[in-house]
Structure formats: structure tokens, C-alpha cells
């Protein structure tokens, strides 16, 4: 194509001056914020792995006897704490997640503007802000004083802590379900319960699962509510309902205060184990969410 007269190209670049400067500044600020966020995150991970990885072994994870603090790190293990964390957090989740999801369903689908719904919503928000140690004290006074220390008491405390988080996150997810989906279902003659179970919950399930597992991960790392509820033990207590128990978070807290090298190493090991458990939980959450969300686009 022979062009007789060269056409001067239009300048389509970002206009120079104030606007370009603003753009560059904002981009730089975002990168800076991103790097700032990476520093603590990376620092925590690297430190825990560097100091904890050397203690981790099959024996450390499964040996049921927690050794006295004075012994070196390669003797016995934290199996009791792994079992305790799994059963106490697990049972807390079994109690709090169904209750929390049902509460959110009530608030969003049934409650409307009723006084009960508004009161529930308000108090679940207030509960989110209650310090975790207060939850521990609460369970101590209403349960432990009467029935003694047990993993169950710990589950109650952690459950109280998880409940408002599950309610809030599930509620936000249910709110995002478009009304047109509900109407589509109603128009086919579905009852309200049917609409909720077959359309609303499946549409929100991905977010609900994510929120619930975040609450579980948060609860698994709590120490304060357990101080008054599970005491601690030196050997695995598989019975959730009877007798004192121990958890990884408790072991971190206790070992970190010791002057002995072995105890400190065990503390780092317990920390790494806890992070690994949270990590596995998150991967499971992603897989579950992806499974449920396969029709959402």
C-alpha cells in the first residue's frame, strides 16, 4: 500500500503531566504496600520454618508423651497436643458451623426486619469483638466450675469464639445471592425452605465454606480461652468429654516461656505444626469451594 502523504500519527499515550504522575504514584504506592505486607508474612513463615523444621519428625508429631521442659527436643513428642487440637477444634467446629450457618439463614432469609433478627444481628456483632479470654472465663464459670476441666469445655469456648464469625461471614455470602434466583425458584412453586436449601445455600456455599474454615483456623490458634477450660496434660487424652487436655497453642505458649533449649525448640515445632494444619485446612477449603462452584460460570 503506497501512501502518498504520510499521515501524522495520533498521540494515544497517557497524557503527560499531573494525571500521568498520579498514575505512577498510585502504582508505586500499591507495590510498596504489597511489599510491606510481604515482610511480616514472610518473616513469620521463614522464622517458624527455620527454627521449627529441625524438630519435626514422625516421633515429634505422634509420640503421646509430652516430655518435661528440661529434656532436649529429640525426646518424646507433641502427639498429645496434635490430638488435642484436632479433637477440641473439630468438635467446636461441629457445634459452631451448623449453628452459625442456620443463624445466618434465619437472619437473611427469615428474620427480615423483625426485632428478634435485629437483636441477634446486633449481639453477634458484639460477640465478634469480645476478647477471646473472656470467652474462656465465661465457660470457666458456667461449665468448668461444675464439671471440671475437659476438652469439651475448650470446645465450648472455641465454639463461642467461632460462632459470630461464622454467622457474619455466612450472612454476607447469603446477602450476595441475587434475589432473581429466589424468585425463579418461587415461581416454580417452591416453598421457602425449598428455595433456601436448593437454591440459596448452594449458590452461597463456596463463600460459606471459606468463612467457616477461616473461623476454624482462627480458633485452632487460640490459647487464651483454653487456659481456663482444658488445663494441660503430659499424655494424650483421647477422651474429649473427660479429663484435662492440651493443644498445640497451649504447648507454644508454655514452651516459649522456658529457658531450656529443648523446650524452646518444641515450641517452634508446635508452631510449625499448627501453621501446617491451617495450611492443609485452607487447601481443603479451596478444593471444596471449587467443587461447589463448578456451575457458577
Amino acid at each position: 500500500m503506497a501512501v502518498t502523504a504520510e499521515q501524522a500519527a495520533v498521540d494515544l499515550r497517557e497524557p503527560s503531566g499531573w494525571r500521568r504522575a498520579k498514575n505512577q504514584f498510585a502504582t508505586a504506592a500499591m507495590w510498596f504496600a504489597f511489599l510491606c505486607m510481604l515482610v511480616p508474612l514472610g518473616f513469620v513463615l521463614v522464622t517458624v520454618i527455620a527454627k521449627g523444621a529441625s524438630v519435626i519428625s514422625w516421633q515429634f508429631l505422634t509420640n503421646s508423651t509430652v516430655p518435661p521442659n528440661i529434656l532436649p527436643a529429640n525426646v518424646d513428642g507433641e502427639g498429645a497436643a496434635v490430638v488435642g487440637t484436632l479433637e477440641i477444634t473439630g468438635f467446636a467446629a461441629v457445634m459452631a458451623i451448623p449453628l452459625g450457618v442456620l443463624g445466618a439463614v434465619y437472619l437473611n432469609e427469615y428474620g427480615g426486619n423483625r426485632p428478634l433478627a435485629r437483636v441477634l444481628s446486633f449481639f453477634s456483632d458484639v460477640m465478634t469483638g469480645v476478647p477471646s479470654i473472656v470467652m474462656g472465663l465465661f465457660i470457666f464459670t458456667i461449665w468448668v466450675l461444675h464439671f471440671g476441666y475437659s476438652g469439651l469445655a475448650g470446645s465450648f469456648a472455641l465454639g463461642c469464639l467461632m460462632l459470630p464469625i461464622v454467622i457474619r461471614s455466612s450472612y454476607e455470602m447469603l446477602r450476595l445471592v441475587p434475589n432473581s434466583l429466589r424468585e425463579g425458584s418461587y415461581a416454580l412453586g417452591a416453598t421457602k425452605a425449598r428455595v433456601t436449601v436448593t437454591v440459596v445455600l448452594p449458590a452461597a456455599i463456596g463463600g460459606i465454606v471459606s468463612g467457616a474454615l477461616l473461623a476454624v483456623a482462627r480458633a485452632a490458634g487460640e490459647t487464651a480461652p483454653l487456659l481456663f477450660t482444658i488445663l494441660t496434660v503430659e499424655a494424650t487424652n483421647p477422651n474429649l468429654f473427660h479429663g484435662a487436655n492440651t493443644t498445640l497453642s497451649w504447648q507454644i505458649w508454655e514452651n516459649a516461656q522456658q529457658p531450656y533449649a529443648g523446650a524452646v525448640a518444641r515450641g517452634w515445632g508446635a508452631a510449625l505444626t499448627l501453621i501446617a494444619i491451617a495450611f492443609i485446612l485452607m487447601i481443603v477449603a479451596r478444593l471444596v469451594t471449587a467443587r461447589f462452584a463448578r456451575y457458577s460460570r
Partner: protein, 295 residues
């Protein structure tokens, strides 16, 4: 309690609703052909009266179109016909709506039972985030049909009726959200037909679609009207003339009473055979609207 009602009646008297209900050309339906019979229906949202004093009879195996400017209450009236307005907490219906001899708003009537007979297709296609198959099988399932073979049959028949089968038969297990706008709307129609309703209400079903998809849905409506009764709300007057047997023209009235902020209310101005409404409207407002001088 007596006083505000009285006031409302005074307002209604001032609004001067004129209605002409000419019989459709070449067809005189009997009482038995009446599907809906609404008398003096007013619909409120809280204290706001959205629609005033609508009386209309809708006949079976016909397509009835509701036309009129925005805010005239066409959709509101449509949604009272299968009690979808129940879902809005503040909505309230006064007057009588009869569906095949039964009073729709009687205390003993279950809205769920009503909606199983009177299906609805919405303005925006709203397929569920499920597979195409599950979208269509959803209605039969909630009505208690469980057998795989029976469901397969219903899904195929409904998708064929909705002229969608050939396009989706190889991807029934893919998400319903992956369809184009026109396909998604036909999927929603198939979903509605799957429960074999008596009446299909359509709330501007083509407003989000291009002319080709619109044409397909209009063909579809003409085909299925042998078996179903269709009521369609449309902004598109050409569409009303193309598909409908009868047309109801709604308009907005403003009450000039001082001190009230929003006194707009929808009224039924004229209802009759589509040809009569468009070629020989009896009311000057209808004439202004269908000739394009207003709205």
C-alpha cells in the same frame, strides 16, 4: 381506621378511571374460558398506591399483552396474578382476583400451590447456577418427581418446546450460566414449562435480547399458546401487535392534591382485542400512546 379509607376513596373518585372493554374481534369467549377475573384491584406498597382499581378478565389459550409507559403498574398487576408480590413485605392487594373460579387471595390459598399452576418468566434471564439439565429438572423435582427416566423425558420435552434442545443436547451437564442471553431466556421458559403450568406469565421476557432471539421467543409463544395461557408485559408495542390476541393499556395518573409528594398511580385505561386497541382505540390516551405521541 375508618377515616384514611374514606380519604382514599375520595382520591379514587377524583382519579376518574375510564375503561372501555370492547369484545375482541371475531371471538366471543364464554365464562368457562376465563382464566383470571380481577375486579377493582388496587395494589399498595406500604402507603403508596401503585395500581388503582383494575378490573380485567383474561381468557385461556390466548396471549394477553400488558402495555403502557414505565411506572404504570403493568408488572405489579402481573405479579399479583401468581402472588409473587407476597415476597415483598410491604405489598398489599385490595379487591378480588379470581383464578378459574377460586379467589386467589383467600386465606386458605397457598401461594406455593398457586405458583405451581401459574409460572413466571422474568425480565432478566435467571438460570440457576446448576447444570442445564438440573435447571429444567428443578421444578419437577420439587413437585416430587424422582425417577431418572421420567425426568430425562420431561427435560427433553421441555427443552424441545422451548426450541433449545438442538443447541444444548450435547452439553446438558454444563452450567446454565454459560448460555447466551437468548438461550438462557429459553432455558428459563423450558424450566417454567417443565412443571406443565396452566398459565405462563412473562415479564418483559425479550427486553434484554436481540431481535433474532426475540423473534424466536415470539415464535415459541405462538406455538405454546395452544396448551398454555400467556400473559406478557412488554414495552415493545410491535411485539404486542405481533403476538397478542388482546391488549391491556395501562397508564399513569397523577393526583394533583397539594401536600402529597408521590401520588402517581397506575390505572387500566383500555382493554380489548389487540387489533382494536391499535387501530381503533376508544380512549384518547390509548391513541396518544399507540401512535407514539406519548410515552
Amino acid at each position: 381506621m375508618g377515616q384514611p379509607e374514606q380519604q382514599e376513596q375520595q382520591v379514587a373518585a377524583k382519579l376518574e378511571v375510564t375503561q372501555t372493554t370492547a369484545p375482541p374481534v371475531g371471538f366471543s369467549p364464554t365464562e368457562a374460558d376465563k382464566v383470571f377475573d380481577a375486579k377493582n384491584v388496587s395494589i399498595y406498597y406500604g402507603s403508596f398506591r401503585a395500581v388503582t382499581d383494575v378490573s380485567i378478565s383474561i381468557y385461556q389459550h390466548e396471549i394477553t399483552a400488558f402495555i403502557g409507559p414505565s411506572g404504570c403498574g403493568k408488572t405489579t398487576v402481573l405479579r399479583t396474578l401468581n402472588r409473587m408480590n407476597d415476597l415483598i413485605a410491604t405489598a398489599r392487594v385490595e379487591g378480588d382476583v379470581h383464578y378459574r373460579g377460586a379467589s386467589l387471595y383467600h386465606k386458605s390459598v397457598s401461594p406455593t400451590a398457586v405458583r405451581r399452576r401459574i409460572g413466571m418468566v422474568f425480565q432478566k434471564p435467571n438460570p440457576f447456577p446448576k447444570s442445564i439439565y438440573e435447571n429444567v429438572a428443578y421444578g419437577p423435582r420439587i413437585n416430587g418427581i424422582r425417577g431418572k427416566r421420567q425426568l430425562d423425558e420431561i427435560v427433553e420435552r421441555s427443552l424441545r418446546q422451548a426450541a433449545l434442545w438442538d443447541e444444548v443436547k450435547d452439553r446438558l451437564n454444563k452450567s446454565g450460566l454459560g448460555l447466551s442471553g437468548g438461550q438462557a431466556q429459553r432455558l428459563c421458559i423450558a424450566r417454567t414449562l417443565a412443571v406443565e403450568p396452566d398459565v405462563v406469565l412473562m415479564d418483559e421476557p425479550c427486553s434484554a435480547l436481540d431481535p433474532i432471539a426475540t423473534g424466536r421467543i415470539e415464535d415459541l409463544m405462538r406455538e405454546i399458546k395452544q396448551r398454555y395461557t400467556i400473559v406478557i408485559v412488554t414495552h415493545n408495542m410491535q411485539q404486542a401487535t405481533r403476538v397478542s390476541d388482546r391488549t391491556a393499556f395501562f397508564s399513569v395518573l397523577r393526583d394533583e392534591k397539594p401536600g402529597k409528594s408521590d401520588t402517581r398511580t397506575g390505572v387500566l385505561v383500555e382493554y380489548g382485542a389487540t387489533q382494536q386497541i391499535f387501530e381503533d382505540p376508544h380512549d384518547s390516551r390509548t391513541q396518544a400512546y399507540v401512535t407514539g405521541r406519548m410515552g
